[in-house]
Symmetry: C2
Subunit: 146 residues, 2 copies
DNA sequence: ATCTATTTGCAAATGATTTGCAATAAGGGG
DNA sequence: CCCCTTATTGCAAATCATTTGCAAATAGAT
């Protein structure tokens, strides 16, 4: 199963989602969506900025907006820098990553542990609306050789 | 099973661990260990600093040292601020948390998903030395009522 | 008490992310 | 197509957590 719902979303489709919410379809936003659209791994704001021609602050503002609109998902690899991935139409984007501690290579992980585990924890402590954040870290094949 | 190996570690025992590694037993370090010793949930550097009388930079430096010495474990709740917990003697500190999205209440979680899951992922992608970072988020009982 | 390598306090530097504000551009109406 | 109103941008300055340079203080050994 494809981890990402990167169903070759076309820009038109994406900008339409913006329009539906009374947001303006600006140059920077299209550029950012276009960059994210062709990536399979999450990108940092700076990486996106380096591929574009617009202010870094605008990248941050746009990503925040897109995140609020559930068009983009934020990931945290614990290195103090947020990473972003584009979401598909009806995709909540819930998935995980396996990251190399040496070279930062990223592998997309679609599977997850049993939902029972999460439900049990929620019930046990009376929490509602429980979700989780999970990332794996290790040494990739290349870095093991080196 | 107790999530934390907070076996009432006494300061002497803790400072001994420092001494063993040729590190000096200074006032600030004892204070920090003493604060962590009586906490059951992870604390931020600032929280520790507020309970003490030493420079914030010293708190950061000490925590870094203690982390390198595996006496303290760092956690990341995704809010851009690291949290620290004291580790027991032979405890690698691997555990998780359930955090309230509203009031930040923390519940310690000792259980974990099956190790097979992690092994399978490691094998599938040829990664070695794979570990993970997992935290749960939800609405605590109090905040549900409110 | 003395000596020397550590460690501390303080201030300045970093790096990621946010924000104020004036200039610019998007989308609607005429 | 032009105009108007309002959202959005670029740029610089501000924030926040964390780190670092450096001289003064101090732990631990002699
Ligand atoms: Mn991904
Ligand atoms: Mn804990
Ligand atoms: Zn690698
Ligand atoms: Zn709560």
């Amino acid at each position: 199963m494809a981890v990402h719902s990167h169903p070759r979303q076309n820009l038109a489709e994406l900008t339409a989602r913006l329009r539906q919410r009374d947001r303006r379809i600006t140059g920077p936003r299209q550029l950012i969506l276009d960059v994210l659209r062709r990536e399979e791994h999450p990108l940092t704001a700076r990486q996106i900025h380096d591929l574009l021609d617009c202010d870094l602050a605008t990248v941050y503002r746009s990503l925040r907006l897109l995140e609020e609109m559930a068009m983009v998902k934020r990931f945290d690899f614990g290195d103090g820098t947020a990473r972003f991935e584009l979401l598909g139409q009806n995709d909540d984007g819930h998935h995980h990553h396996l990251v190399c501690r040496e070279c930062s290579t990223v592998v997309e992980i679609g599977e997850c542990f049993s939902g029972n585990f999460e439900n049990r924890i929620a019930r046990q402590h009376g929490f509602a609306n429980v979700s989780h954040r999970l990332e794996f870290f290790g040494l990739c094949p290349e870095c093991q050789a080196a």
